[in-house]
């Protein structure tokens, strides 16, 4: 990876993020932005981050993963656990950095371990096994009970009583109620920095020798292999990095809300599917696109809030129509014929 030699496309991406950051900061300082909008800024960032990470797996590696919410969950729980336990022992800044490292490493480890069996499979089978792993992770986190008292650490996968804790002991993870009282260490600036770092990692990887090897595997596995590319190594590399980025997003998630629970809304297969929607609508393999799609699609239901009950209905219709307009061969033909004057220079794939 050669730092310092960015392509124009990469620089534009960073510029967009920085510009968006500055605009948001100005809006906040001048008081134009509502408090509701302010609350959305960090979630937008972590969804953009996970979309960027997933695009590495789906777009660059070409393997459909439906388990990224699980990796996010691993990052969230491991970092929240650390922050919660050390809240009074370590000052905020180093604590968050260590938590971030822990979250990313644990998610990467989960990605690595799950990648070994999963990457042997192909296509939809791979997708369904990643979905299965994601659900397993969510389920296990929902069943963990962890607490401390004077005799040491107690752990159970069944219920509170079977931990056998002394009265007055401190409960750390309370099963489905998760971890309550994680310090809110993340803010918009940190979120933007992590987003920039994730973009940097992915974009650099894509334009590096390793990235070209990964894309070669995607485009033609046999040809790549006969050119001496180590398939296992590069597949694992991409999958692990992708999981690690999802973990970073999970760290932000956990430190943005005070009580962390492994609900299916945030960490179930529904969430993984939502990430996939971001990636596909943003353009498979287009890193910047998936980031922008995440921002727009996350904002859309919020912007439609005035329509209250109808907003999710409209969201789904928009989703279907966007897919039909974007992808159907007939619509493409129509655009070529009648709307060619609107055509913006297309980025090379």
């Amino acid at each position: 990876m050669k730092a310092g030699r960015f392509s124009k496309k990469e620089l534009t991406t960073y510029a967009i993020v920085v510009a968006a950051y500055i605009i948001c900061e100005i809006l906040m300082l001048t008081g134009i932005m509502s408090s509701h909008m302010k609350g959305l800024l960090v979630p937008i960032c972590y969804y953009a981050i996970v979309a960027v990470g997933l695009n590495l797996c789906v777009g660059i590696l070409g393997e459909l993963s439906l388990g990224h919410a699980g990796f996010m969950c691993v990052g969230a729980y491991s970092s929240a656990l650390f922050s919660y336990v050390t809240e009074s022992a370590i000052p905020t800044a180093p604590r968050f950095i260590i938590a971030l490292v822990i979250g990313v490493v644990m998610a990467a480890l989960a990605g690595f371990l799950i990648g070994i069996p999963v990457l042997r499979l192909k296509g939809d089978y791979l997708a369904i096994v990643t979905l299965a792993f994601g659900e397993i992770i969510k389920n296990i986190f929902n069943a963990i009970y962890l607490g401390t008292d004077s005799t040491g650490l107690h752990f159970s996968l069944k219920d509170m009583a079977s931990m056998g804790m002394e009265p007055g002991g401190k409960i750390i993870i309370n099963g489905a109620q998760g971890i309550t009282g994680t310090p809110s260490d993340s803010n918009f600036t940190i979120a933007i920095v992590i987003l920039l770092v994730s973009l940097f990692v992915v974009q650099n990887l894509v334009s590096s020798r390793d990235g070209r090897a990964i894309m070669a595997i995607r485009d033609n596995r046999i040809a790549a292999e006969s050119n001496g590319i180590n398939i296992t190594k590069y597949k694992m590399l991409a999958f692990t990095i992708s999981a690690a980025i999802a973990g970073a997003s999970g760290v932000l998630f956990a430190h943005n809300i005070s009580s962390l629970t492994a609900t299916s809304q945030y960490f179930g297969y529904n969430a993984s599917i939502m990430f996939l929607v971001y990636v596909v609508l943003g353009g498979i393999g287009n890193i910047r696109g998936s980031m922008i799609a995440a921002v727009i699609l996350y904002m859309l239901p919020e912007l439609l809030r005035g329509l209250s009950d109808y907003r999710m209905l409209i969201y789904s219709v928009v989703l279907i129509v966007m897919m039909l307009v974007n992808w159907s061969p007939k619509a493409r033909e129509f655009r070529e014929k009648h709307l060619s004057f609107l055509k913006i220079k297309k980025e090379a794939k």
Partner: protein, 294 residues
């Protein structure tokens, strides 16, 4: 004896999964797409029956018939409007995302029409069931009927596919669309027929499922849908006996896991089994063997 009761309950739940999985596997085999909205067809079927039986006070049979007809229409229309334009889109992901959109659409439409509160579904099967071994073994009517219906459906489907012209056309389209159309098979019609059958099965599954577990929300169909898909993959996707076997295994493991291991971890166990099976046999129990070496 209690083990036998749980086993039979598992068999019944597995039969429901199997019926849903049959629809899934047929659609997948022929259109090569994961129809994520399939689970929501079940939910639509349930709400239709609920409306007709509980609100309008008509007999359950009327409810089931109307639900089957409406679900069939819904399936065929969805395919025509949302999936067909994307059939040659270049990426299989395009139609997957549209299916997710349809799933959201159905869920939110149901949310608007019926509200978010859980509806108590009136079971369409009123038979109390049988008592064996001096009361030690009680089998509910819905359990027996579910198992019988699923076996009937399997036999009918197998006969339909292997003995009729339309069924053979389905196999041909599943194998090679281009070649099939060159042999004079109407590919569009065949795909529509597949969606019609799959959606009708979803309505039947809905009626059985909501009779056994009578609580109905707009999200009722989502998880069984996913589980049924897991069952289809477990049995070898595209294979009809495979879907049946996969569904039964899944249902039995789920109920036994819930009872003997941990109720919280039952889903983890179900998905764990899927992982193990696919690692040993990557194309499912009855699937064709193509392995990706890494």
């Amino acid at each position: 004896m209690s083990f036998l009761t749980y086993f039979i309950n598992g068999l019944s739940l597995g039969s429901i999964y199997a019926i849903i999985a049959l629809g899934y596997t047929m659609v997948y085999g022929i259109a090569k797409m994961l129809n994520f909205a399939h689970g929501d067809f079940i939910m639509v079927g349930c709400y239709v029956i609920f409306t007709i039986v509980a609100t309008m006070g008509l007999p359950p049979v009327a409810g089931i018939v109307v639900a089957i007809i409406l679900c069939t229409l819904l399936g065929v229309t969805t395919e025509k409007v949302a999936y067909k334009p994307l059939r040659n889109a270049g990426s299989p992901l395009a139609v997957l995302i549209t299916a997710i959109g349809v799933s959201y659409l159905l869920q939110n439409a149901a949310l608007l029409i019926f509200g978010a509160d859980t509806k108590a579904f009136t079971p369409v099967i009123t038979w109390q069931g049988i008592v064996l071994a001096d009361g030690a073994l009680k089998i509910q009517g819905v359990t027996i009927i579910t198992i019988v219906v699923s076996v009937l459906i399997l036999v009918c489907l197998q006969t339909f596919i292997n003995k009729t012209k339309a069924g053979q056309a389905m196999l041909a389209v599943a194998e090679d669309k281009g070649a099939a159309s060159l042999m004079g098979i109407d590919v569009n019609k065949t795909i529509s027929l597949t969606f019609a059958i799959g959606s009708a099965l979803a309505a039947i599954a809905g009626a059985l499922m909501c009779s056994a577990y009578p609580s109905l929300t707009p999200y009722t169909g989502a998880m069984p849908g996913i589980k049924a898909f897991v069952a289809a993959v477990l049995g070898g996707i595209g294979s009809i006996p495979g879907a049946m076997i996969g569904g039964l295994i899944l249902g039995i493991i789920e109920i036994l896991g819930k009872t003997y291991v941990s109720s919280q971890l039952s889903d983890a166990i179900v998905f764990g089994i899927l992982v193990v099976v696919l690692l040993v046999k990557p194309t499912g129990i009855l699937g064709k063997n193509i392995q990706e070496k890494v």
